[in-house]
């Protein structure tokens, strides 16, 4: 096991953390488990693929179009479908996001076929030396973008009027409503932000690895593991947990071989859950 492997793993973990932020945000604010999170991520990668192919721009530049597009598409899903289901308990919205993931997968399969795609970027396979270690450039870029997203989200959550409304809605939606906060709008905006961040993560992962319409599920489970590791209510902790997972994954891969890497991650996840049945999801409100 070399230091290089672990550093690469930690940096890739930064990208995983970015992907998990949306899942954690949506669960923290609305108690909604979004089983379509992985598909929203892969959707970002596929839309970027189309833009790169037609406009011949860099995949990261395509994010300028992809991210707003996914956010705009996600808003009505929460506002007009999931909001109405949230009041009925945990299962109905869970089943609805399950349906959404089927629909998104089917649409992607229809338009892009099941063949593996990847986003071509000049720095895609590029390595850069950091302190004598050979590190994949896209992991570094991805981690930096993750850090930037965390910074922006922290400002948004702590300093803006929307952030106050969001925290109030998360703590007590009914009281917030009586104080004139448009909870339905806050929920839908939160979902849109989560989807937007996921799609950006999807583009980064699409540059680093190939993807198919069914790639979402594996990333969803990684994101869940990170959310359980990092706890709720803190985007910084989510990113940190992502980095930790990336490191753990690279250690597992070199200890047990790449083939058992996924198994180890799932086993770790189940163990974490079994030890802390309420989830490690932060403080209980």
């Amino acid at each position: 096991m070399s230091a290089e492997t672990i550093v690469n793993g930690l940096l890739l973990g930064g990208v995983y953390g970015t992907v998990a932020i949306g899942l954690s945000l949506v669960f923290g604010v609305m108690r909604l488990v979004n089983l379509a999170h992985g598909e929203l991520l892969i959707l970002g990668a596929f839309i970027s693929y189309t833009i790169v192919a037609t406009l011949h721009v860099d995949p990261l530049v395509s994010a300028l179009i992809v991210v707003p597009l996914v956010a705009v598409a996600a808003y009505p899903l929460q506002r007009y479908l999931l909001n109405a289901l949230l009041v009925r308990g945990l299962e109905p919205p869970l089943v609805a996001t399950f349906g959404l993931s089927l629909v998104l997968q089917a649409l992607l399969l229809r338009f892009y076929s099941g063949d593996a795609k990847s986003l071509a970027a000049p720095y895609g396979d590029f390595g850069i030396p950091i302190g004598g270690l050979h590190v994949r450039a896209i992991y570094v870029i991805g981690s930096l973008i993750g850090l930037a997203i965390v910074g922006v989200l922290l400002l948004l959550l702590r300093r803006s009027r929307f952030g106050i409304a969001l925290r109030a809605s998360a703590a007590d939606p009914e009281t917030s409503g009586t104080f004139g906060i448009d909870v339905a709008h806050v929920y839908a905006t939160t979902f849109a932000i989560a989807a937007a961040v996921a799609s950006l993560g999807g583009i980064i992962l699409g540059i680093a690895f190939s993807f198919t319409p069914s790639s979402g599920l594996a990333y969803l489970l990684k994101a869940f593991t990170i959310v359980v590791l990092g706890g709720l209510g803190s985007v910084t902790a989510t990113l940190a947990a992502g980095v930790a997972l990336g490191g753990i994954e690279s250690v597992f891969a070199s200890l047990f071989g790449g083939a058992y890497r996924d198994f180890c991650i799932y086993a770790l996840f189940i163990t974490l859950l079994a030890i802390r049945p309420q989830g490690l999801f932060g403080r209980r409100r």
Binding site: L90, A96, L109, R110, L217, Y260, D262, Y266, A274, P277
Partner: protein, 329 residues
Amino acid sequence: MNAVRSHAPFLVSLVALTAIATLPLFAGAGTRDVAFTLLSYAVLAAAWNFIGGFGGQFSLGNSAFVGFGAYATAWLLTATSVPPLAAILIAAAAVIPLAGLASFALFRLHGVYLSVGSLAMALAAVSWMENWTVTGASQGINISPDRSLPDQSIYLLTLGLALLSTLGAWFLTHSDFGLCLQAVRDDEEAATSVGVAAFATKTAAFALSATVTSAMGALIALRQMSIEPTSMFGISWTIKMIVMSVVGGIGTIWGPALGALVVYFGIEKQLEAYQDVATLITGLLLILVVRFMPFGLVDVLDRARRAILRKPADRARPQLLDVAPRSAE
């Protein structure tokens, strides 16, 4: 006498449907193939409904039991000289301790944690089987033709299993055990406080679900003869079970079977050449049912029947998918 009369519609439907389901035994192999697939989905969805519907434990991990049953049977038929029928029974029984073991981790969890935890278990099973050389890793196992059963026998066994799983759902609707299970689903704290052993009840329902699922997996393996991890342990089994149960009516006796009929025969089979379109329609149907028909198609049909016969609704609606509004946390 009264009891007999109140169960008469169920018994009549069961006998009539069983009679209809024996017809493919005398039809061509193509018809029997469609009928087998339909029945197998009905069995799998019904088994998921034991734990997901009556038990309210939204498992996303039942696909692992399909794979377990299939692999256990295939391994027994290739590595030992056990007769096929015994192999099916062993596969169905051997899954019980496994489900019990999983229960210890899973039923410490509640709500969505349980769902995600069980999903992780199913995915762990897939990645383990893809690498485990004992069962041929990603190559899987081939059952030699002389070790399998004739087509008609497999179909008859599947029909028997479908009959059993329907009776199982009937049992869970009417027995004391079923009442305890539904009480745990509707309010675990209240059920525990009146003396229901919540953990044991959930574990028993989970084991029942696992047994039927594993037996079905065994029959699927006998029919396919060649099995490999991605198809046998695939999450798509769980997706089908849940979609069919929800569309038909979660926590009802006939819901999963009706869902299997609509989703498999109504959508997938008719759009065989356009699988992506079929998935799209299935996903949309799932969303529409959850949004507008929280009790599934069975309830819609039931209400239509009552409206036509001008009968009042005589029983409380099933509770799942309609829990009390979220309390302020």
